[in-house]
């Protein structure tokens, strides 16, 4: 009896808070019919936003991939001074409001910022332009890949690499033939989460973008503009594309977890281990 009550409570709560909002996005997007929906998502401004979002993700995700592998490698396979500081730093963007994250780039690269004079002298625009959007996106998404990889690499230890090196492989050969194949699923998992956030980031990007239509508007920002103009069905039409991306991300994540059950909660477990070790 208590069991049934608990299941019903849990399902009701999840329906109310998760399923209904998702359904609302699609219902509102199609409120004026499929014709209006396709017209809304084929507007030039909507396309410009889609293209910018894809461009930003195409720059931010690979950079964070390289950084994530390097950081996870350093943390998992070596001991060095400042290791725990590095782990804390990796998590920092999660602890900071996205608005503050965007603001710090204005302070550094804005007209009155530290490098403002230098940038203006060389006619380089960072803030209120695409480079600023890319930087802010990199900042808010950089923990994702590193955090997924650290536990995977820690669990594997360094035996495989040491064997490869002792058999005469070079450092690069070891990385491409031994390390990378070992971590490929964890890597894919991290990339998936990083990409979802990179394409969907709102707060940080909103602060640095300057909201120039067709130029510095990413998809989430375009949704906001349409919504504030009371163009609800168009706003929800663009939003539905982002919701589809979210559903694809969740599906991909579930498939990876099903293939590699140890990916589930891996980041969480490793953090517990580190915490226990610190006490």
């Amino acid at each position: 009896m208590g069991r049934l009550l608990l299941i019903v409570t849990a399902l009701l709560f999840l329906c109310l808070f998760l399923v209904l909002p998702l359904l609302a996005v699609f219902a509102q997007a199609l409120a004026k019919g499929f014709g209006a929906y396709f017209i809304a998502i084929s507007q030039p401004m909507a396309w410009a936003a889609v293209k910018l979002t894809l461009l930003v993700a195409a720059i931010a995700v690979p950079l964070n991939l390289i950084f994530g592998v390097a950081a996870a490698w350093a943390v998992a396979k070596f001991d060095f001074r400042g290791k725990s500081a590095l782990i804390t730093l990796i998590d920092l963007p999660f602890a900071i409001s996205p608005v503050i994250a965007g603001m710090i780039f204005i302070l550094v690269f804005g007209t009155h910022g530290w490098f403002g004079g230098f940038l203006r002298a060389h006619h380089i625009r960072v803030v209120f332009a695409v480079p600023g959007i890319v930087l802010a996106t990199i900042f808010v998404t950089f923990p994702f890949i590193a955090r997924e990889l650290i536990p995977v690499m820690q669990a594997q230890g360094k035996d495989d690499e040491e064997t490869a090196l002792s058999l005469g492989a070079t450092g690069w050969q070891t990385f491409w033939r031994v390390t990378l194949p070992n971590i490929r699923w964890g890597l894919l998992y991290g990339v998936l989460l990083c990409n979802a956030r990179a394409m969907g980031e709102f707060g940080a990007v909103s602060v640095v973008s300057g909201h120039i239509r067709g130029v510095t508007n990413t998809m989430p920002l375009h949704v906001e503009i349409l919504y504030n103009e009371y163009n609800y069905s168009a706003a929800f039409a663009v939003a539905s594309l982002l919701a589809l991306l979210a559903l694809l991300t969740l599906a991909g994540k579930s498939i990876l977890e099903w293939r590699q059950p140890e990916l589930r909660h891996a980041a969480r477990r490793s953090r517990d281990r580190t915490r226990r070790a610190n006490i």
């Binding site: 709560f13 109310l16 956030r197 979210a246």
Partner: protein, 257 residues
């Protein structure tokens, strides 16, 4: 290490330095303005309520997902991560559409005199949505590792279900509950995208602190924006530090027994 320092430490120090560019007096004046104090109170208060709701329902959800089997369980389990995957702006307009006076839920609540959208209540709803996966995903692995035999032993010794929960399960869970609470709370305090649509953003009433930072930035009032940011950062870090200390104390006590 260099990449991180460039990307994180230099900008963060810029916030602190800039906040004092107008001197201490100006900093204090900005931070103690009634509108700023109201927004900080709202941000931290609504986040606290939302995190508490998430602790309660997150515990129920993760318990149900770990211990029971029912149809579509895998699908529902995957859906818990939706707030991580769904862009916050999309979540914001979806929740607003649901809870607006003519929305699916809002229309139903209106005759009862409850307005959710464009009130502080709406902010709590959005922050609850954002924080849920933090609590569930923190509790799940702990519940999975929790030995069922201990509960059965408690039951066979004559403990009621409530006693078993309070004396056996809860003590093992509460460090994880605290972590989940802290993560959900921290995320909620800084949340912007999902809140601004549903909040109505009325000064003194439903204006959150991150929004006030954005509007000060739009007016090029960098000293004001950074001053609010510094207060938010310091309060958040102090809270996280306190929760961390409480947790270390809890797990060391739990370990002794």
């Amino acid at each position: 290490m260099l990449y991180l320092s460039l990307l994180v430490l230099i900008p963060l120090s810029a916030v602190f330095i800039r906040s004092l560019s107008g001197g201490w007096g100006h900093f204090w004046e900005v931070v103690t303005a009634p509108r700023v104090l109201a927004s900080l109170r709202l941000s931290f208060g609504a986040s606290l309520i939302a995190a508490l709701i998430n602790v309660l329902f997150g515990l129920i959800v993760s318990w149900v997902l770990v211990r029971y089997t029912f149809p579509f369980k895998r699908f529902i389990d995957a859906m818990v991560d939706l707030p991580f995957a769904l862009p916050t702006a999309v979540a914001g307009i979806a929740l607003t559409a649901l809870y607006a006076p003519n929305g699916w839920i809002g229309a139903w609540l209106k005759p009862m005199g409850i307005n959710v959208a464009f009130t502080p209540l709406g902010i709590v709803v959005a922050l609850t949505f954002i924080g849920l996966p933090f609590v569930v995903r923190t509790l799940q692995p702990v519940l999975e590792e929790l030995d069922k035999e201990v509960e059965q032993a408690a039951a066979s010794l004559g403990a009621s279900a409530v006693q078993a929960f309070c004396r056996v399960i809860f003590p093992a869970l509460w460090p994880a509950l605290l972590t989940g609470f802290a993560l959900a709370f921290a995320r909620a305090v800084g949340e912007y995208g999902s809140v601004i649509f549903i909040a109505g953003n009325m000064p003194m009433r439903s204006e959150i602190a991150p929004l006030l930072i954005v509007s000060k930035l739009e007016q090029y009032d960098y000293a004001g924006a950074t001053a609010i940011a510094v207060v938010m950062l310091v309060l958040s870090f102090a809270l996280m530090f306190g929760i961390n200390a409480l947790q270390n104390w809890a797990s060391s006590r739990h370990g002794e027994r």
